[in-house]
Amino acid sequence: MPADTVSVTGWGRTAPTVARLIRPRTYEEAVAAVRGCGVRGGIPRGLGRAYGDAAQNAGGAVFDMTGLDRIHAIDVDGGTVSCDAGVSLHRLMRVLLPLGWFVPVTPGTRQVTVGGAIGADIHGKNHHVSGSFSRHVLSLELLTADGEIRTVRRDTPLFDATTGGMGLTGVILTATVQLQPVQTSLMSVDTERARDLDDLMARLAATDDHYRYSVAWVDLLARGAATGRAVLTRGDHAPLDALREGTRARRDPLAFRPSRLPPAPAHLPEGLLNRRTVACFNELWYRRAPRARTGELQKLSTFFHPLDGVPHWNRIYGRGGFVQYQFVVGHGQEETLRRIVRRISEHRCPSFLAVLKRFGDADPGWLSFPLPGWTLALDIPAALPGLGALLDTLDEDVAAAGGRVYLAKDSRLRPESLAAMYPRLDAFRSLRAELDPRGVFVSDLARRLAL
């Protein structure tokens, strides 16, 4: 089995550590890798889109699961797929869209694996309707620390520990997922602008239920009365009759043609994204959005995954990398959200990828992130002065409001803050202690946060 000693980081490109990267091609190789991973343990890794240190394991093994990527069975009538955990959502879309099915939940990128989607219990723009990814997982097969492969069904402690468990209960080998039927590969999108944060929250709260997918891009560099101005994009899969007769789209309604630009260069100077450039971008982005437009047809990739069009877009932050901060606070904590947005805006964080969304009901994963309420996600260059201290104060605010930060994006949380944010952490720890007494599964994230 090939094993290279390589430096590994998350998508944010901070805190590199070195590990043996092992790429199993069969279940037997995966079992052998877990049994022989040595004293510093191992952690599964998919396409490396977690921003922080979740799929790193300093001095130990990292299992690159993208070598296990077979789709086993598709139930075209019932709308389910059984596949290896290393299959990407991109591949699933390619295969399933022509059959009239779509993944139940997609994050802002197609470049995640099914295993990663379950391990981080990812959410998408449809969380307020469809919940997180794990809600649609019917069963999965888990390779545990003892080298055994177990079938894990819904409503069991091991299932709830594994969904959102950041790969720490074992290596997910396969999963069966319930799919979403679609008539076309296009999206029907309504766009509107909100002049400030209160306007934005009012619009989201009032009319989110009309849409399957909803998200708002927020300008966090706007100050004063414009603080939190935003562009809302909401929509649903376009029905067949929304496509005009005689067009290419109508003739081939389920075609999947993601657009793609050249990749970002490998070496870009530091500080390309600073307050001035990002403020310019934000101004343009806000101005170019229509005040209100309904029923626009967009490609799936334009609506869901605009950044996938630029491979390696994370390089634009330069060598210093960036930090992604995503938190959620419950309904009724709007004041906390306002305060945090104000703080970020006052600190002048050059963030051009800030997104606000209303979450629906939570799913049972013990370390699953979503809670019913408001979630804000933003990217910030790691070199921004005072950023660490700012985020520490935001953590305190979030925890005091009963909210939490997202582990799949975290690269800097303190272990002390974690227990308040994830009340079922103790159950998770004791399940791990029982299932994996030797601590075979461990990551840099787990070491940093004592998970």
Binding site: S7, G12, T14, A15, P16, T17, V18, A19, R40, G52, D53, N57, A58, G59, G60, G320, G321, V323, A382, A383, L387, G388, S411, R412, R414, D444, L445, R447, R448
Partner: protein, 251 residues
């Protein structure tokens, strides 16, 4: 583990009574550090340093360590690493010596060289190997501008730091790609008990300023840090000054 800003959760200080080291430890405890090991010769001063850091909320332990006894380094430091990962090792021990006295007493000059150079070589290698096994960690070595070019006034100390500086740079290159980050810190004149009673040099700095520079260096994953930063230019000029001129400079 270090976080996205390079801040360590656990710190091992070699030379646990060094003022620069303690200023750095205080800074790190204020940020992320929860575990601190202070290695040094057992003394009331070492225990007092530990107590001071403990009061800031960290779990602080001391470990007996003598730079002049390289054979003890492996067992002493091995014990520390066996207790858990160390995210940052700060090599801070060193003695200034008394130039005039040491020129007359070769044995005490040798003691300066053995402490600052050979002792540091041994402790650094032991630490580097443990960090390499972890696959992560920063090794921060306190060098000095005195090592950049030996001066008439303190060439015994300066030469020991020159050796340490060159050794650390080479080690940093050797460890490139192993996950271990090696950083050389070159402070100028630092106001501390080590320099008490000496005439202050231009661009004098403080232990706290060195701590700040180390924090920034960790975030940037720097390989060389000058404190203050302007010394880089000053020393670059001095380095190229002709010998006949350099000898006459009032430094």
């Amino acid at each position: 583990m270090k976080d996205a800003f390079g801040l360590p959760q656990s710190l091992l200080v070699l030379g646990g009574t060094s003022e620069i080291a303690l200023a750095t430890a205080r800074r790190m405890i204020a940020r992320r550090t929860r575990t601190v090991w202070l290695a040094g010769r057992p003394s009331p001063a070492l225990e007092q340093s530990a107590a001071e850091l403990r009061a800031l909320g960290a779990d602080v332990r001391t470990v007996a360590f003598d730079a002049l006894d390289p054979e003890s380094h492996e067992p002493a430091l091995g014990k520390v690493f066996a207790e858990g990962d160390i995210d940052m090792v700060l090599l801070a021990f060193g003695i200034l010596g008394d130039q005039a006295h040491d020129e007359r007493e070769p044995l005490s000059a040798v003691r300066v060289a053995q402490t600052n150079y050979t002792g540091a070589v041994s402790a650094t290698l032991v630490s580097a190997s443990a960090l390499q096994n972890q696959g992560h960690g920063s090794l921060v070595v306190l060098s000095s501008v005195a090592g950049e070019r030996a001066r008439r006034a303190n060439f015994i100390y300066g030469s020991s730091k020159a050796g340490l500086d060159a050794f650390t740079q080479g080690l940093g290159d050797a460890l490139h790609g192993t996950g271990v980050h090696v950083m050389v810190v070159r402070p100028g004149f630092v106001r501390s008990k080590m320099t008490a009673g000496l005439a202050e040099a231009p661009l004098a700095t403080t232990p706290e300023a060195v701590a700040t520079a180390i924090e920034v260096g960790l975030r940037r994953r720097s390989e060389t840090v000058w404190v203050p930063g302007a010394l880089r230019l000053v020393m670059s000029a001095l380095r190229h000054a002709p010998r006949a001129l350099f000898r006459r400079l009032p430094i």
